[in-house]
């Protein structure tokens, strides 16, 4: 192939030369070139090696349809079509599936064995002992680009949500016309095109539109659209159409910038996506130098690159003649080989009619063609047109159905899809839209030239996946006649191009082999994306903490200043413990200090959902397992919230502030769920004018003062309220004031020590924390992290939902059967508590576990085991396990079968082959009488 630069080219700026490397070789080009056009002009004919046989491959296309020229761009863009990458100074481009380079590929020998490597060869051959033993090496040999794991994206891809009246996909003549009509009718319009410039075929096909050269008309319409406020997206591929006219578009980043993902919701969509040229089936039609006739026209007119000097244009239709005429005018020696016998040849062109290419010759590039009439023609470029396939992917994704048209030999959109219109070549109208046509357009006049069975040479059907006519014949012989089976067996139409150039030729061959018509064979399912979309574009900003944002405490800065080590607890970033040193020692010391003196704990994430209104009390009776309407004003009560299936969903303390005002304290990680549950029952069952729900979790911080000296510290700070035990006993609440701001003080304990939970507006939490710390110095107050709190509550046998409960836990499994017996009214999950399953005697019940084997702390998750005839059986498991600083011994909690009736029994536990022994005891290991709550 001896491509050469002409002095033309509308897309390139000859004043701005540039250079990049391809497989290490320096390539020169101009601003406006694509990597493909610069490589073509630079005389690089082999751009890659084929997927399976490592055959040399050159350019076939000029745009999105390119099956061969996949390249890796250094810096993190693998498997990119060279036809769509703008050439840039300094770019380092590498061919894929070729080592060390596309030109000298060490696996090229594979092609000599090709007749031993038919479709499904690998799967059939490498079965013993296991395909997966061979897979890595085969994958390395047959594959595409490689991902550079060291490349970090410079920034995350932006994502834009947008809506409009009309979205037009494709800025060719049909798309521009549709967009202009919509804009002139006052509609809000988005127009997208995967090219950098509007115009589509007008950029390379000669046409006069409304009295102007086509490209000028296109630029003028695009300018009018922009002036009228339409959004014109260049370099943007609409890759998928989803429910309710949502379209996904990927905008290629320029100059190394990441791509941008658009989600456009449109009232109506116009698909003006054009058509893609098909190859002609002849032997060795994959040789470098065999190119789409339309692509050759693009390279000539847009980039000033003529594909060859001695050119054969092979066609079965009339549109390829423009390529022949243009190359002849540029100075190439052109011969047209027209499959059609009965056509008028234009003057000044050498045309051989009624004949076609049987095979191409040449080793690493085409050098000749042999015709069906026996002639052999020399050629350094063979420009082929086997007709055009309308780009109907988006229409089909939107549940469109295709009709076959014999006059143009193509599938076209059939039945109407609501809100989706197809226009131009995508609808099978290959000329200009009727309103724009000037009568000089060429007619298609296509005559079928489908692949035939039993060809002597290899005829490539799918260039990207190395599928030949023989592979299709083999598949049909083995009875893979359903088009979907054929695709999977031969890989025809798979990979990154999804058969854009190959599908229809493949279907035609199957039709011939099975004695069916092409529409009877049908097409495979069209699925998004139309072209590959980088994962980075789909991910957008959602990675790390942006994917799953951590909730932050209002006092995070104060905790950091105090040396807190933070961890994620149910989505909240909270202090695990404070200070440097061995974590276990710090945690043990904090827990010990809380029992000895006084500790400060930040419990701000604790749920604070207010339930307000005259029906609040009966509403909460319905929500809770426990009876709540009998709760006295200013008092707190612990309770469970169940699901309708009778499973414990959450626990916590309900506070009654007033006759018709309550605060639901729920688990920190359950706030959203409990809030939704409350709202759902409120709206579905109660008079929504008589119960209101307000989630005050974020607006109020909760600081806890706990330990035997907590009352003294609280009184030292003041709060303008009586804090003595007569005024504020355990499980009571009072209103106080801190620096003029109202606070709520509750005597609720999760440590087993006398405790005060102070709920304060979040913007005053810092001042209160500082005051508590300052006043606490006199009492030796320590800071308490969440890890130490977990030990303190485990010593007391207090439950953590989701840790000490699971999806089978019912309230009675926690020894709490009395509330059910006393309660007379309906509540969520009630009926589920009197089922056969709820009454089973072998339920797993919440107990304490005391290690009796002297081997230290029991592993959390260790299973209680029972030895029977069938081997080992699990009888439950350890849910929480710690070393208790107060008791100076290991403690544990667990859910064990019949646990409540087996107090004192020693059971076997097993964890990762380790065998342990523990005694079943009461969950509360420390201060079972609860005297310290009042001490």
């Amino acid at each position: 192939m001896t491509a050469w630069r002409t002095d033309g080219g509308t897309a390139i700026d000859r004043g701005r030369p540039l250079a990049f490397t391809f497989d290490g070789r320096r390539i020169e080009g101009f601003s406006g070139d694509t990597v493909a056009s610069a490589l073509l002009a630079g005389g690089v004919s082999i751009l890659g090696r084929s997927f399976k046989y490592h055959r040399p491959r050159g350019l076939w296309g000029a745009g999105v349809e390119e099956p061969n020229a996949l390249v890796d761009i250094a810096g993190g863009m693998p498997n990119t079509r060279a036809t769509q990458v703008p050439a840039e100074d300094g770019l380092a481009v590498r061919s894929v599936n070729a080592a060390p380079s596309a030109e000298k590929d060490r696996h090229a020998f594979l092609d000599a064995f090709s007749r031993f490597i038919p479709a499904a060869f690998y799967y059939k051959t490498f079965m013993f002992p296991d395909w997966h033993r061979f897979e890595p090496r085969i994958r390395a040999m047959a594959g595409l680009g490689t991902l550079d794991e060291n490349v970090k994206a410079p920034a995350f891809a932006e994502q834009v949500n947008h809506h409009c009246d009309v979205l037009v996909v494709g800025a060719g003549p049909a798309g521009l016309l549709a967009a202009r009509k919509a804009v002139r009718a006052g509609r809000r319009v988005v127009l997208s095109d995967d090219g950098r410039q509007a115009g589509g075929s007008l950029l390379f096909r000669a046409a006069t539109v409304e009295g102007k050269p086509g490209a000028e008309w296109a630029a003028d319409v695009a300018a009018e659209l922009t002036r009228a406020g339409a959004l014109v997206l260049a370099g943007t591929t609409a890759f998928g159409i989803y429910d309710h006219r949502l379209v996904g578009l990927n905008e290629k980043g320029e100059g190394g910038a990441p791509d941008r993902l658009w989600r456009v919701r449109a009232q109506s969509i116009v698909l003006a996506t054009g058509a893609i040229e098909r190859p002609l089936p002849f032997g060795n039609n994959d040789l470098p130098g065999v190119m789409s006739a339309e692509a050759a026209l693009v390279y000539l007119r847009r980039f000033g690159v003529a594909a060859g000097r001695k050119v054969v244009v092979a066609t079965n239709n009339g549109l390829a003649y423009e390529t022949a005429e243009a190359l002849a005018a540029a100075g190439a020696d052109v011969t047209v080989v027209d499959h059609r016998a009965d056509v008028a040849a234009p003057a000044g062109l050498r045309v051989l009619r009624g004949t076609s290419i049987v095979s191409a010759g040449g080793r690493n590039a085409v050098s000749s063609v042999r015709l069906s009439d026996g002639q052999v023609l020399e050629a350094d470029a063979v420009l082929a047109s086997g007709g055009f396939t309308p780009t109907v992917h988006l229409y089909c994704q939107a549940q469109g159905r295709l009709d076959w048209r014999d006059d143009i030999l193509a599938f076209v959109p059939g039945r109407a899809v609501a809100g989706v219109e197809v226009a131009g070549a995508a609808a099978g109208d290959f000329g200009l839209p009727a309103e724009l046509a000037d009568g000089t357009g060429r007619s298609l006049g296509i005559v079928a030239a489908w692949p035939k069975p039993r060809a002597r040479q290899r005829v490539w059907i799918d260039l990207q996946n190395d599928v030949t006519a023989k592979d299709v014949e083999l598949a049909v012989r083995e009875n893979f006649v359903s088009v979907e089976h054929l695709k999977r067996y031969t890989t025809l139409g798979m990979a990154t191009d999804q058969g854009k150039t190959s599908n229809v030729n493949g279907l035609a061959l199957v039709a011939e082999l099975t004695g069916r018509r092409i529409p009877e064979v049908g097409t495979t399912t069209y699925r998004p994306p139309f072209t590959p979309v980088p994962f980075a574009a789909f991910a957008g900003a959602r990675s790390g903490t942006r994917m799953n944002p951590l909730r932050r405490l209002p006092l995070e800065g104060e905790h950091r200043a105090a040396g807190a080590v933070f961890r994620d607890y149910g989505g909240w970033l909270r202090p695990a413990f404070y200070g440097a040193g061995a974590p276990d020692e710090r945690i043990q010391a904090e827990a010990a200090a809380a029992r000895a003196g006084v500790a400060l704990f930040d419990g701000s994430p604790l749920g604070k959902i207010e339930v307000i209104g005259p029906d609040a009390a009966p509403f909460l009776d319905f929500i809770y397992y426990n009876t709540m309407s009998t709760l006295a004003l200013g008092r707190c009560r612990y309770g469970f919230i169940l699901t309708e299936a009778g499973i414990v969903y959450d626990d916590g303390v309900l506070v009654r502030l007033d006759e018709d005002r309550f605060v639901v304290s729920c688990s920190s990680s359950h706030v959203a769920g409990v809030h939704a549950l409350l709202e759902e029952w409120r709206q579905d069952r109660f008079d929504r004018r008589r119960v209101f729900i307000h989630n005050a979790t974020a607006e109020m911080a909760t600081l806890t003062v706990t330990g035997p000296k907590s009352r003294a510290l609280m009184e030292a700070v003041g709060f303008g309220a009586a804090l003595d035990d007569a005024a504020l006993p355990h499980m009571a609440v009072t209103a106080g004031v801190f620096e003029g701001v109202p606070v709520r003080i509750a005597r609720v304990s999760f440590t087993g020590e006398r405790s005060y939970e102070i709920s304060v507006p979040a913007d005053h939490a810092g001042a209160l924390w500082a005051r508590l710390g300052h006043a606490g110095a006199a009492f030796g107050a320590t800071l308490l992290g969440l890890e130490a709190l977990m030990i303190l509550r485990a010593e007391k046998g207090y439950v953590v939902i989701g840790k000490d409960t699971d999806g089978t836990s019912r309230p009675m499994d926690f020894g709490l059967a009395a509330p059910l017996a006393r309660k007379t009214v309906e509540f969520v999950g009630r009926r589920s508590l009197v089922t056969e399953d709820a009454s089973r005697l072998d339920r797993r019940q919440f107990v304490g576990l005391e290690a009796v084997d002297g081997k230290g702390v029991l592993p959390t998750g260790a299973h209680g085991i029972e030895r029977g005839e069938g081997g080992l059986r699990s009888t439950g498991y350890v849910t929480s396990s710690y070393f208790s600083p107060a008791l100076q011994k290991p403690i544990a909690l667990g859910l064990i079968e019949r646990g409540l009736s087996r107090m004192g029994d020693v059971i076997e536990l097993q964890h990762l082959r380790e065998l342990r022994h523990a005694r079943i005891v009461a969950p509360c290991a420390f201060d079972p009488e609860g005297g310290r709550l009042h001490a």
């Binding site: 989803y242 429910d243 309710h244 949502l246 989600r263 919701r265 549940q399 309708e644 299936a645 939704a676 709202e679 759902e680 709206q683 579905d684 069952r685 008079d687 929504r688 729900i693 309906e826 009630r830 009926r831 589920s832 009197v834 089922t835 056969e836």
Partner: protein, 94 residues
């Protein structure tokens, strides 16, 4: 991603909504009288109808619980209705 009509907010992205079950799955009341079978049916038995369906949804961003008519074949959200006291809905399509 589809658009669902919230009776309170209007059309919003489906990702803001939470499915609440089939409409008309009445809770059997009177825990002493309800049989195991009735309760199990309420908890577990669903029509899972092909075609037009009537469902309860919650719009998580505003908290509205409502009934929506939706088609389980083509996923079209037809219209929605605000719930009213004592069961049922307001009969006004949103």
């Amino acid at each position: 991603m589809q658009l669902f009509p919230c009776p309170f907010c209007g059309p919003r992205s489906e990702s803001e909504f939470h499915f609440g079950g089939e409409a008309g799955n009445r809770r059997p009341e009177g825990f002493r009288a309800v049989t195991d079978g009735e309760w199990a049916a309420y908890l577990h038995e669903r029509d899972n109808r092909r075609g037009p369906a009537s469902e309860i949804w919650m719009h998580m961003t505003c908290g509205e619980v409502f009934r929506m008519e939706r088609d389980t074949v083509h996923h079209g959200a037809v219209r929605s209705f605000a719930l009213i006291e004592g069961g049922g809905d307001d009969g006004l399509a949103h």
